[in-house]
Symmetry: none
Subunit: 331 residues, 2 copies
Amino acid sequence: MDCNTATLSEIEDLLRRFRFKEVLSDDTSSKTIWLLGTIATTNVTSVDDEPPVPGQNAAIVVLERLAFSPQTIAKADCSLDSVLLATGERNDVYAWATGDARVAALKPDVRIALTYPATQKHIDKHRRQQRKWVCETPELYAKVTKPFIDSQPASRIQWVYNILSKQVESEHILFEDPDPERGFVIVPDLKWDATNMDNMYLVAIVHRHDLRSLRDLTNSHLPLLYNLRSKAVVAAQKYGVSSDQLRLYIHYQPSYYHLHVHITNVLLEGKGMLAGRAHLLDSVIDNISNIASDYYQRATIPYVLGSSDELWSHWAAHQNTSSDEPTTIST
Amino acid sequence: MDCNTATLSEIEDLLRRFRFKEVLSDDTSSKTIWLLGTIATTNVTSVDDEPPVPGQNAAIVVLERLAFSPQTIAKADCSLDSVLLATGERNDVYAWATGDARVAALKPDVRIALTYPATQKHIDKHRRQQRKWVCETPELYAKVTKPFIDSQPASRIQWVYNILSKQVESEHILFEDPDPERGFVIVPDLKWDATNMDNMYLVAIVHRHDLRSLRDLTNSHLPLLYNLRSKAVVAAQKYGVSSDQLRLYIHYQPSYYHLHVHITNVLLEGKGMLAGRAHLLDSVIDNISNIASDYYQRATIPYVLGSSDELWSHWAAHQNTSSDEPTTIST
């Protein structure tokens, strides 16, 4: 990275003048935190009680811990002399501690992003949304989720129909089985750069329009699911990803209500593959074929809703009008 | 967390005597790195060219960047005066930099785990490994996995029995239901710093010794599972984490074959919560109580094996001696 001394001192000056007001959100998995504050007019460290005004003195600072650099550590023949411990425990051959890693080979240790002046839109974007589990019983599916799905305007998934009918993106289609019942297309996911095979991310979108989600699947759809699984394996092999290196899964709730299957390299890990959102295709097939053909009509399915999800307000409305049913984990 | 000064200086002494030899592996998503080295006989910082000998001078150090604590940052009214920048760029209202976060409110910044002496098994476990999916049918469970579990020496989980019988770590027990059939203890997970509630990570370990994994659960264990779920919710509430903010799950394969349930804040995300390893307790209960009491004896369960997992070689041995059954996704 090009380091301009003038730029560095400008940023250092802004950071010195940053007055913390509020934690907007944080993410413990990426070890990132979003702070709202103000940029004071001077860098004198004194009490500065100006409230943040969007578009004027408001500033957002994002702090993210940096991953270690194996190259730097190996090159420096890393010693741990100067680590300052805060807490520690031992048990047999194991010891654990937390501390302040004051070791050059472990630096830099933080990435800082500053937005100044920050607008209200910047602030809203970084404020933490609430999240909560709901336990969707078949009854709650019928009362809350299905009416929500039924109310979705067709225009919402017009883009899916455009792909299936090859009105757009037809050059991106990697594979197609045109059968109206068992057929589907496979396209690269938008999140994939289409070059790094460790991150391979494809999506299979079924041709039929009547399957909105996991809840609609029964044993009558097994021919479609078997067909999709076997052909997805062949499509992925073209990218050098073998069948035992694939993660095939269906989201519930999905981001759009037209059945699609995610096809990723097992090395790719993230929020989208978490239990409670990702349902492995092999388990879906086993549940329907081996356990019960109406498994997905009978199962209670837990998932996490975020306050910015549209479905959130439907659950909230339901919970306000009925107190006779548990919608979350019952104690 | 209880900090014993003697323990701290013991660990500091070990770290001062650590001589780096090799990066075993690293994970940029969790910002963790695994180092192999030796513990020198003195803490004189001189060249020490002894090669690591497993079971003798070999040591593994795991360094993991810690998530920021919103509580600490808010309480300290965090200023960023003393951040030392290494690189920086600006564009319009945006600025980015990397640096050394020399700010008390951002400490501690590293978690250190030390294993000494480290055996060859410890070293192999942390070396970068191959991974592949297996689809464990009930037949393959009976042929491959169950014999492996049965062959585990009792000494492997002596540490679990020590916790249950309060011979060690009894001060860490957050909750206990002593009932021999339905009872369990709740302890903080070793991966948790016990201060940041966003990362809350507890483990409930059942008192009975006969349940080795998910595969053993039937409707006869529902009283245990219901009891555990409701009391885990109460235990987590003491940490300010409400029932709809909890992720309760069971690993399959687990890291040790004595039934335990992971209790984490929904905000905590990582490899341990991925579909194909984490089985949500609510789904487990629903599968057994509502779908089929022998669900976990009948289900085909897919999971990812790593080449350093002991079970990997058992599957490999099976696959070499039998070619009549598909053990991975069939095409």
